[in-house]
């Protein structure tokens, strides 16, 4: 049985000019101990979808969903309080900005202890030992000293490690990492990613990794979802997706990787911008930027359909093998 199953999740926000559809009909399945990567440009609705899953969106957001099952529990039937209790326990999340995600007024130890207290319990002394061992397992040197450190006394990488320790405190079955390395120094990025993968193996967690680093995806994920303007455009196993991208957007993303740069030394780019609220195309959302677009693409909306090896939202999926 899958750990997480999401069917037709949509999120809209009210704006002065009506509803803005941030996420449109997302389907996700994560198996236990599996890594699913979600890639896409900024504004493609990756984070919003995850926050909707955690029920962390502001109350004015309109969330609709046909099915939302986590670890055998139907989240749609739970009250807000019951869903809140799952947060940090069954499902935990780490965020993009570790420096602002920790409360500046409390010590790191206190903030991790809160999670332990909420989800594991135990006496003061046991909990402290638990927190220290968590700090140790995320590779924070001298945990006893770091326990009493305030967030401003720690580097970005250290803060992200503390955030990971906090997420692990409730022994989650699913960990959502929302661009966990984007805000960090390049040298630290690899370390944090490596740590996440190690812990995922160690604790046998499902992991949803949101990123725009295709290189990271290739190395880590089993399943990949490519998202564009709030829609999923392609879903496939990592191997298939990288070797046989079928959606023109996926193909364009992959060919923009520096490793795949053309012999001329120029990086191919995708012309244009992700459509916003006011310039959403009538047909396929990617059509205006697509090198392969046809007349039909501008008037009809393609559905996400099972084609060839995976799920693709395109009338004319690419068949040619691209070179790796």
């Amino acid at each position: 049985m899958s750990l997480l199953s999401v069917r037709n999740l949509s999120v809209a926000f009210p704006t002065q000019n009506g509803w803005f559809q941030a996420v449109e009909g997302i389907n996700l399945t994560v198996n236990p101990n599996e890594i699913l990567a979600i890639v896409g440009e900024s504004g493609s609705g990756k984070s919003v979808a995850m926050l909707a899953l955690m029920n962390l969106l502001p109350p004015q957001a309109r969330i609709t969903c046909d099915e939302l099952v986590l670890d055998g529990k139907n989240l749609l039937q739970l009250t807000a309080t019951e869903r809140r209790r799952l947060n940090g326990g069954t499902v935990a999340m780490i965020f993009q900005e570790p420096m602002t995600s920790l409360n500046p007024c409390f010590t790191v130890g206190y903030q991790i202890d809160e999670a332990v207290k909420t989800h594991v319990g135990g006496g003061r002394k046991e909990r402290k030992e638990q927190v220290l061992s968590l700090l140790e397992s995320v590779g924070i040197p001298d945990p006893a000293r770091r326990y009493d450190a305030y967030p401003h006394q720690m580097s970005g990488g250290m803060s992200q490690r503390a955030m990971i320790a906090m997420a692990l405190a409730g022994q989650p079955k699913l960990l959502i990492a929302d661009e966990p390395t984007t805000a960090l120094d390049v040298t630290v990025q690899a370390q944090i990613l490596e740590l996440l993968l190690k812990l995922q193996q160690q604790f046998q967690m499902g992991l949803i990794l949101i990123t725009h680093d295709m290189g990271v995806v290739a190395e880590t994920a089993q399943q990949v979802v490519v998202q564009y303007a709030g829609q999923q455009v392609e879903k496939n196993s990592a191997y298939e997706l990288f070797n046989h991208p079928h959606h023109p957007y996926t193909a364009a993303l992959l060919s923009a990787l520096p490793e795949r740069a053309l012999p001329t030394g120029l990086l191919p780019t995708i012309p244009g911008l992700v459509p916003g609220q006011h310039n959403r195309p009538q047909g396929c959302l990617f059509a205006p930027r697509c090198a392969y677009q046809q007349a039909r693409c501008q008037t009809e909306v393609p559905a996400l359909a099972q084609q060839q090896q995976g799920w693709i939202r395109c009338f004319y999926p690419l068949e040619t093998e691209t070179m790796l």
Binding site: L51, M54, L56, R84, R85, L86, N87, G88, G89, A92, M93, F95, E97, T100, S101, L102, N103, P104, C105, F106, E114, A115, T118, H119, Y150, H152, Q153, M163, M166, G170
Partner: protein, 337 residues
């Protein structure tokens, strides 16, 4: 931390020097002089007046008078009240407890009602509780104290008869020696049944009047500080951890919002002293404010100068206390230096 406090104390010196000069000049800018007030409507001969002025040292050039004043302050002599011939410092400190009692009660009311009101307004932003709190706060802030005080006296004292019109205790029923001059403490220690209750009874209305403006300011500041903090990433983290909304708001958000609110509370102490002048006059409250008004009316130069200086010192000490408290609340300031 000690160095921080020492530096702050050092910075008080030039400020205090400025205040002595301002107090000295302002009181002399008022038309009239102490001798004219003392001698009353019939007046005295020109010679007698000159004699009296010379006695008080007021015949000297201003710069010389100021020099003497400074010299005396440095040797700890704040002068004698022209009206009572008692040392200004004694006059001040015998009245200070009454004002402190009133100010402390007012601040307590302002914080205990203002902070929760601000929190509620922030959580219910844009809904009716927010509008009610902000409406009341704006009204309170705009209300002139003397007018507001009189309105409350008319309603609660005259019409409903719930509270006394003035004074600190029911003098007909209770009598005890003043030990600390804090009426609450003295009444408690006297052991007389009902004395403490009577003091509280007398304290409520003036304290409410004096608390109105600080309460309005604190409520508004708490609201805006909470609104800002509630949008922070660490609030989302706290929710993601599975903490209850109550805990997120009252622990994670409030602690950060208090950093701003404490600063505002400190700044309100100054305006509290200004409000005390009016409140004490309305309620015949025998504190510093009423004493200052009387001293000004009598052109009692030493009393006004001394009173202003002491009030300034008190306000600055409170602000220093707030700075220290600020470092305690905000860990980033603590080792920022």
């Amino acid at each position: 931390m000690l160095k921080f406090i020492f530096n702050k104390l050092l910075m008080l010196i030039p400020t205090l020097l400025g205040i002595t000069l301002a107090a000295f000049l302002f009181v002399r800018l008022l038309p009239g002089d102490p001798v004219t007030v003392l001698t009353g409507e019939r007046g005295v001969s020109v010679e007698r007046k000159a004699e009296l002025m010379a006695q008080l040292g007021l015949d000297q050039p201003l710069i010389v008078q100021y020099g003497y004043y400074l010299k005396n302050i440095l040797s700890g002599d704040f002068g004698q009240s022209i009206a009572t011939h008692k040392p200004v410092i004694d006059e001040f400190f015998s009245r200070l407890p009454a004002t402190l009692e009133l100010a402390f009660a007012a601040m307590l009311i302002a914080v205990l009602l203002g902070v929760p009101a601000g929190i509620i307004a922030a959580i219910k932003r844009g809904h009716w509780p927010d509008h009610v709190v902000m409406g009341v706060a704006l009204t309170g802030y705009s209300m002139p104290i003397f007018w507001w005080g009189l309105l409350l006296i008319i309603l609660f004292s005259t019409t409903l008869g719930w509270t006394p019109v003035s004074g600190r205790i029911d003098l007909i029923k209770y009598y005890f020696e003043a030990e600390t001059n804090f009426m609450l403490i003295d009444a408690w220690r006297s052991g007389q049944a009902g004395a403490f209750g009577s003091v509280v009874h007398h304290l409520i209305l003036p304290a409410v009047v004096l608390s109105t403006i600080p309460m309005a300011v604190i409520a508004r500041q708490t609201r805006s500080a909470m609104l800002e903090v509630l949008g922070e990433d660490y609030i989302r983290t706290a929710y993601a951890k599975g903490l209850s909304p109550t805990r997120v708001i009252m622990v994670h958000a409030l602690r950060n919002a208090l950093i701003t609110v404490v600063t505002v509370i400190g700044l309100q102490v100054g305006s509290l002293m200004a409000g005390a002048v009016l409140t004490e006059t309305i309620f015949a409250w025998p504190g510093i404010g009423k004493w200052m008004i009387e001293a000004i009316a009598r052109r009692d130069y030493p009393a006004v100068q001394g009173g202003l200086l002491f009030i300034a010192v008190a306000v600055m000490l409170v602000n220093l206390l707030v700075d220290v408290l600020y470092g305690w609340i905000n860990p980033r300031v603590r080792d920022g230096k």
